[in-house]
Symmetry: D2
């Protein structure tokens, strides 16, 4: 079968790789659809991010859906032909963090398509994938392959939302409206937020935010003071989801956030200089949110039941043989939100 | 103006009462619509419930919407003609519980239409009502007077949901599907529950539950073992909202509730005999939920934005002069979910 | 070696049993001291409790300390001669509850000396015990074998305290002052409680409560209205630890518990009839607390550092060959708090 | 009476001021002892901190104890001669934050000796102080005036500890060991922490930390890698109390803090540049802690019952007429922890 392998910045190749055999607790999945994530883009454009660098050839991709081709002898609940979304989260189950239910902090995590460790963990942008049955989640007939591939980034958003505590009746600010920011709007709404404002520095992402239900979208490039109206009485928003990884977005929201406000930092952005006195005096609660684990099942359940609609975020689906074009499109915020590869 | 006054069990009269003057921080509201609550029914049918008994004539009612007729000189944000839902929650603001943000436990609460204290607190089933501006919440044009009157019981449901903590991705069981049970389905769904099962002992309420989005409805009168399928591996449901006030409903759900499951007890039901060893061994968390306070604003916001739909629960609207007929209908579970009085 | 084996109610025998071999990840421990627990007493006096009955011979005991005799080849951190307390909690690590960090709800728990499942899990009242290295916790020189044997019930108390949330500055009521009640006083104080009242129906246990630092002890047999002074303004206590398993103790505390008060039910007591309307109206939060897992390490750390003192609770230490006498003493609340067996 | 008034940086004068009359709900207190806080020092040395500057003469001081001289006609529970600690926290009771139980975020707070607002709020370094009865907390005979004056900074530490959630069995790191850092050691221990490491850049404060019970003290000026031993397996400490306000202390602790670790930022320190990617990837929870409110009662209760011992932190008590010398001593970390003024 063929796979999409990154060798270095800008060096993305389609190469033949062997399909591993299917163990009794596993499924072989014919991959149909894969979403291009910001980290895939970073590997492609920059050879990595921060200290994480491509040091050996690595199959990209961790947002995929497909069809069951083979069912291991010890697996129940799946049949050949079932359509599934595949969770890329593969924790060890036995380390101290797994035993505390914190699988996303596993000491031996093997997350698809990640250069965080050596040897790198090979990814899921390939025609066939052998997965543990616990990674596979059946898609309902009403959910397309493309929507199924969005279960992964939706899981990231759901995990961030769970980190915020109950959102029922809360006023929420989302800064940065790439695919994760837009999915945060969807997830926060699903969780009961009554008011959602989204900021970005570009018009197209804000249009997407409006499409998925934001109450208000603000272009802070056009109007850097757009949040000032929310600063009275020490601030308005209960919760901030920071999805831009941009220091100015984070710091710029502080005055509009109420005392005891919760900030969930989702965007990665290296060093940021923060006014710590404000965090102290307003007693903010700044929480990191990283990946997910059990939220993958929630994401698929919400898609299957039609309780969330991610279709407005799907910009285009291209054949995997046009990967370079697809990656270029995915990198263009004025054109694309989520770009998918078709592996069929 | 006229008001609906209960004198004793079965003795409900329409009588003339004076309209109080409007103080500077107040609004005078022409009441348009009022919902009949279970407690109103108890006063009417039984003269009270538990130790709470009618000891002097009392105007009934605490679920009302109307139109602003007069705006106090110190009030901003309201104009004559604004349509509003009125919160019946009137805490003192200064007692130890108010100062802890627990207004529903206020030591000097004056909740409309309640015989809990002497003199009784007069209710809102009357043609004109003078309220503090903080009690009034504007209704959007798309929300009918009848829906506005449901803001109050929806607030009860939202408060119960908040007592449960985050429901995102949770499996929820609701036992008892009167108006509060049905509103719990709506509120739990809005809060992100992925699976909602409802039980009752009658068919009509279960049909309502299905209409407002329950995934499954079970008639435990027809099949007392209906929940047995959920008992494997120590139980399935994460959260139980007990809205029947019936011991059998509560205890009958224990085996289907997972360890560390949260039980929010909403239904009032006097003494219940519980297997405390099960509560201990499965480490349940049984929480009472009583009324609401800040959730009223959330309820109106959700109605105004179309984020919840309570219309399927409105069974009928009768003129207040037909109150006896309306109360009889409200008491008939095979016919009615929520019955409203028209005061216009 | 010899072990203490219960065959039926009242039929406790000392019998020879083989010592299992020590696997690479295990330790062989020469047992020195074992505490008699209420459940041991129930097996001895009544053949079990509730639905849990002795159906085959079972070695009793789960509160033991000893000395390392053999160190498995794969174990680090232990040497022959180390004194250790042994945790009886042996979860499977892989079931859904273990993977959520809820090991005390493990679907395949093998807790020492428990007839909850068939075949029964053999206990630790024996001269030699082979344990997983993860069960063993080193005792400091300043901690006696007897104190080390109390690490287990102290863990139960610590787990219950953690179920209550932060106790810093809280007013605590403990109802029932057997060994667990007294250890709850110690644990609640360690956790920052500023006021601790203890009730019981006998004088001797209350004297123990005073010795371990209770601010106040009330004999509710002598004065059933002793808690009435705490009923003003809807109640005084923030947290109730119910350790008697007695319905009257639980219900009798309701009026003295403030709204939103937390009740941690530790005592097992079968069916109890509770005024559920009070739970609802005061929004109590009734939480079961069952065994422990990670708290065992905390218990040993607190003992090792001298941060808790359990010595006042040790009533007597008898040779294991005098087990019948020891059990009789342990059952006499006027004489004994915690009775220990010496296996040396 | 006389008061200590700051006019500008370095310009501290003793001046005569009138004593206000005592209203019915108030007490007149003869001040006996006042602690010099870091903010007092900042006003004295630098004329303020950050954007907070002395703009008009202001009486300093907010950590005082004294004796009741006059009891307002409407006050019960106090008598002339009672010794009291005085809380400087005077919220408005009615703003949205007070009504949520967040009095430390009051929109109209009048905290003693604070230049945060204009006109400045006059402080408590004066011979007589008229206070609301709710501000006064009786001291037990075993608590000295000086210890009573430490109730205020102890409250700050207790509030920070409560922000961290339950500490039972937790491993705690305190960075920065001025008076607040040392009181955090005391408070964290009282709250059940089993391991407490303290870092500082000077020897004297670390000796104080050891005196109040830290398990380990590390001089990170001598050994900048002192925390490296705690970095295995993604980190060791559960909770970090950052009390230095120093960016290097905060960032330097990240590698030693476990995933999902809680950071309570207590120290004020202006802008800090933080590796946000680490906060995200380890899902830290960085919480500001600012002042206190209800914790003042807890502080006094702990002192009164002998459950904390703050005596090791009292470096010296000087007559208020020697204020300049006292402030100089308070500023010398090699000599002093907490310096008190005697107003008697």
């Amino acid at each position: 079968m063929e796979a999409l392998i990154i060798h270095a910045s800008g060096d993305l190749r389609i190469e033949e790789v062997p399909t591993p055999s299917t163990l009794p607790h596993q499924l072989k999945v014919r991959v149909r659809c894969g979403g291009i994530c910001g980290s895939d883009l970073h590997y492609y454009q920059h050879g990595g991010f921060g200290a994480v660098r491509i040091q050996q050839p690595m199959i990209l991709g961790h947002e995929v859906s497909g069809v069951v081709e083979t069912v291991g002898s010890g697996v129940s609940g799946f049949e050949v032909g079932h359509r599934v979304a595949v969770s890329p989260s593969r924790p060890c189950a036995l380390c101290r963090y797994c035993q505390q239910g914190l699988q996303n902090h596993c000491l031996d995590m093997r997350y698809y398509g990640s250069a965080m460790r050596m040897p790198h963990i090979q990814g899921a942008f390939r025609q066939e994938l052998v997965v543990d049955a616990t990674q596979a989640h059946r898609l309902a007939d009403n959910v397309s392959d493309a929507e199924g591939a969005l279960a992964e980034p939706l899981s990231v958003a759901l995990h961030a939302v769970r980190r915020a505590g109950s959102l029922v009746g809360k006023s929420v600010l989302v800064t940065g409206c790439g695919p994760i920011g837009a999915l945060l709007v969807i997830a926060a709404r699903r969780a009961g937020a009554t008011h959602i404002t989204v900021t970005d520095v570009a018009a197209a992402p804000l249009r997407s935010a409006a499409k998925v239900g934001a109450d208000e979208t603000l272009d802070v490039a056009q109007d850097p003071q757009a949040l000032a109206r929310y600063e009275a009485d020490k601030g308005f928003f209960d919760v901030l989801f920071e999805a831009s990884g941009n220091e100015r977005a984070l710091v710029g929201a502080f005055a509009a956030l109420r005392p005891r406000g919760v900030i969930v930092q989702v965007g990665l952005g290296g060093n940021m200089t923060l006014p710590v006195n404000t965090i102290v005096a307003k007693e903010f609660d700044l929480r990191g949110a990283f990946r997910f684990h059990e939220e993958f099942a929630t994401a698929v359940a919400l898609l299957n039941k039609g309780l969330v609609d991610v279709k407005p975020l799907i910009s285009a689906t291209l054949p995997y043989r046009d990967a370079s074009r697809a990656f270029a499109l995915a990198a263009d915020r004025s054109q694309a939100m989520k770009v998918l590869l078709d592996f069929d």
